[in-house]
Symmetry: C2
DNA sequence: TCTCAGTTAATAATCATTATAAGGTTGATG
DNA sequence: CATCAACCTTATAATGATTATTAACTGAGA
């Protein structure tokens, strides 16, 4: 269908390192998480390369940019349809692979042409649940 | 139940102007939207005051901070439970007041204590639907 | 009137992200 | 093999949103 992607990017060592870090990574890392992790094994890595690579991968639909954390973008190598479970204390994000049937009536659509939906679940992760204190972040 | 709120803030003219702008505002404005609008009628308004007031209102659960727009926080004076319909081109956000029954099995909860959920619908708003070009923002 | 807590607003500082520009790499072509 | 162009990396500057700092301001009591 779409073909504004799959432009086959050059697989430079930097990009391989980023891809390798992203692969099977369920932590939904931020750009700076990626930079920190990758520059350990690849000390010449530049922040710009992380952002450049992420932009390219995004255009190819190889990563998805998440607007879940109010403070920074998070990146998800899992581009299939799925939902998220988010800890309102530590911002940990877990994938949910169930299907939910949520739909809008014509009236609710307000004239929009609906292209997709996404369910966020909020809660306290096992670690935060047992560590007293109140939740510092907002929920839904 | 909770009582970490309702600390009754002093209603200064600046805060009144912000509250008045927010009241019944369905646009989910950003801090700079609020600043622009309010400083028209209140030219001495400072950006710091906008952020200070928003922080106070947030602590009192009088506004909700939305992590929907990847580029900036949006603020929602509607603090009741509801969902959102988001234009993937222009980022317009519309409220959806339906109820959806989405639930997780114990296994899917990963040990989380679930406190809420939120459904985002993505699509093209009537304006953007009819203005050619491809969508510049990501969906779910 | 004096004081104190809470507030405003100018300003600086920080953080995430994007843009710019200079040099590096690679691979096809002559 | 030399060259050139397209694409990359990197350092760095620039931008934009947000937070922190601080001095001056206000208003309700003592």
């Amino acid at each position: 269908m779409d073909d504004h992607k799959r432009t086959t990017m050059k697989l430079t060592p930097q990009r391989l390192a980023i891809l390798e870090y992203l692969e099977n990574n369920g932590d939904h890392p931020s750009a700076s998480d990626i930079y920190s992790a990758v520059s350990e094994r690849f000390p010449t890595m530049s922040f710009a390369t992380v952002y450049n690579t992420l932009r390219t991968l995004k255009m190819q639909d190889a990563v998805r940019e998440l607007a879940i954390d109010p403070d920074k973008k998070r990146f998800d190598p899992n581009t299939g349809p799925h939902h998220h479970l988010i800890c309102i204390r530590c911002r940990r994000i877990v994938d949910i692979h169930s299907e939910f049937s949520v739909g809008l009536t014509e009236g609710e659509k307000c004239g929009f042409e609906i292209t997709g939906n996404h369910v966020d679940f909020y809660g306290l992760c096992p670690v935060c649940k047992n560590s007293g204190e109140k939740a510092p972040h907002e929920g839904p």
